[in-house]
Symmetry: C2
Subunit: 305 residues, 2 copies
């Protein structure tokens, strides 16, 4: 069943304890779609500028399941660029620079051919933009959104409208606290359920995630990774694995508690591969069989025997 | 099979966002033994001063499985007292005061009647004291130790001798990093395995725990607790539930990977009850049936369906 993602494509510069990478392919939509494509075809809606390197386009094309018909190229604009630095423990990062480029312009349009998408992921962006993109999809798709502190602080009214139209929200622990004023993640997640979504995933980076669903709670540790090169894209590949899995199920209720739990295991594991390298380097060589093996390992690691 | 714990009994004063408690019963051995007693009889070896209130002795006696023959009362000494304050997010605490009292004197003696203990938990203390206490146990018991940054910094040689005599070590994430110089918890835990123990439990508070065992890795989230009153004793009740469970199994190999994993679920759940109140208030009313129910809930929450 068709899955669509709207978000950013970026040119990233990353400094990490293990090394650095300059002007490599990144962005929320990039990471999401690459991750999702292991489980399901995925439609990308994003914009880049005239400076977008053709090699990056080739990388995107190399993920066979990614449909690039929604990738807009704006010859007179610049691609979004971001630079960041991770500190020793990898949990804290500093933004070094942000060049908005196309992100400062009108959002990309959802192609007519994508309007029948049944699963929608709205990567982090102004909630009014997310609502506008969602309005271009026909019918009643399963909708999951991401957000960030900036929109909670500056566009909360729009965000609350969006939440009433979503099945699920994924956000970081700090953002959940900011949105609800509750520092306990269970209390914060339960509070968000009252704002509309059927489920909320509170991401805690290397500490895993909490799922609060109207039908129950689940706690998921991260995959215990020994060698982390670059955490960039961990949250987006987590969401991509999750949504790709959901879209692959053809379940009568794609947002049921058990389906979401299984999907989060898939997301956790794709993210654990992604952080083994800069950019999409690891995902480019990853196979579905490697993924399935690690998903089984993960399920066994968290099981109480 | 008999389980023994050596550690502290304290008079605690705790300030937390939910309230405060002055001069209440605490200490590592107290929390450990109360928690362990839900699963197995447990022998306490600890010292208190002449100021130790008789009501506190009654509380200890109310845990039917706790054998108090190793509780030394020193009429001319003072009981260890500790004051601490938790900040809003409960992950950070400040020590307000420490009155060592009996802890500055010679350690308590293991009664001859306890020398046949088959399971030994050495709560946090100078590793030379831990080694001395261990030397009073006959035969080849299953030994698990706790430690802290102070001993890693000041008594590392003794600690390394102790590690070669233990089956398992439980310690906080920060301490694992300090002991090994590795900031990644998986790498740190694997390094500790090379120092002697068959298994290491890296505790991460509200983020759960990592188990590194010679036979595999496991990741355990904390029980998602919505109402936390006082985190004091969380680590000790976790260890108590773990060791009480292990002692209850009569398994031919009590430190096998699967037994330790099951025991950590028990420890996680006892700790989740303990933090619902100050001191032992919640554990005093807790029943084995409530525990078993939550252990089943926990196992279901972490399962990938």
């Amino acid at each position: 069943m068709p899955l669509i993602c709207t978000g950013t494509i970026g040119i990233d510069t990353v400094f990490a304890p293990a090394g650095h990478a300059e002007r490599v392919l990144g962005g929320s939509c990039t990471y999401f779609c690459a991750a999702a494509s292991f489980f399901s075809p995925v439609r990308m809606v994003a914009a880049v500028g005239g400076d977008f390197p053709s090699e990056f386009r080739d990388v995107l094309s190399s993920f066979a399941g990614v449909d690039l018909r929604g990738l807009e190229t704006r010859p007179n604009s610049k691609t979004f660029a971001w630079g960041g630095k991770y500190l020793q423990n990898m949990n804290t990062r500093e933004t070094l620079f942000t060049e908005l480029g196309v992100l400062a312009e009108h959002p990309p349009t959802v192609p007519e051919a994508f309007a029948d998408s049944r699963y929608v992921f709205l990567a982090n962006s102004h909630p009014a933009v997310q609502l506008n993109l969602l309005s271009q999809i026909r019918g009643k798709p399963t909708v999951v959104a991401d957000t960030m502190d900036l929109w909670i602080n500056t566009a909360k009214a729009d965000l609350l409208v969006l939440l009433r139209k979503t099945d699920g929200l994924v956000l970081n622990y700090d953002e959940a606290e900011l949105l609800t004023g509750r520092s306990n993640s269970v209390a914060a997640a339960r509070h968000i359920l009252e704002m509309g979504p059927r489920f909320v995933v509170v991401k805690k980076g290397e500490h895993g995630a909490l799922l609060a669903h109207r039908d129950g709670l689940a706690a998921l540790p991260a995959f215990p990774a020994e060698f982390v090169v670059d955490p960039t894209g961990a949250g987006d590949t987590f969401a991509g694995g999750m949504m790709g899995w959901i879209a692959s199920t053809n379940a009568p209720d794609p947002a049921s508690f058990d389906t979401i739990r299984r999907s989060l295991a898939a997301g956790t594991v794709v993210a654990s591969f992604n952080i083994e390298s800069f950019s999409l380097d690891r995902l480019r060589t990853l196979t579905r069989s490697e993924l399935d093996t690690r998903i089984r390992q993960y399920a066994d690691m968290v099981r109480i025997p």
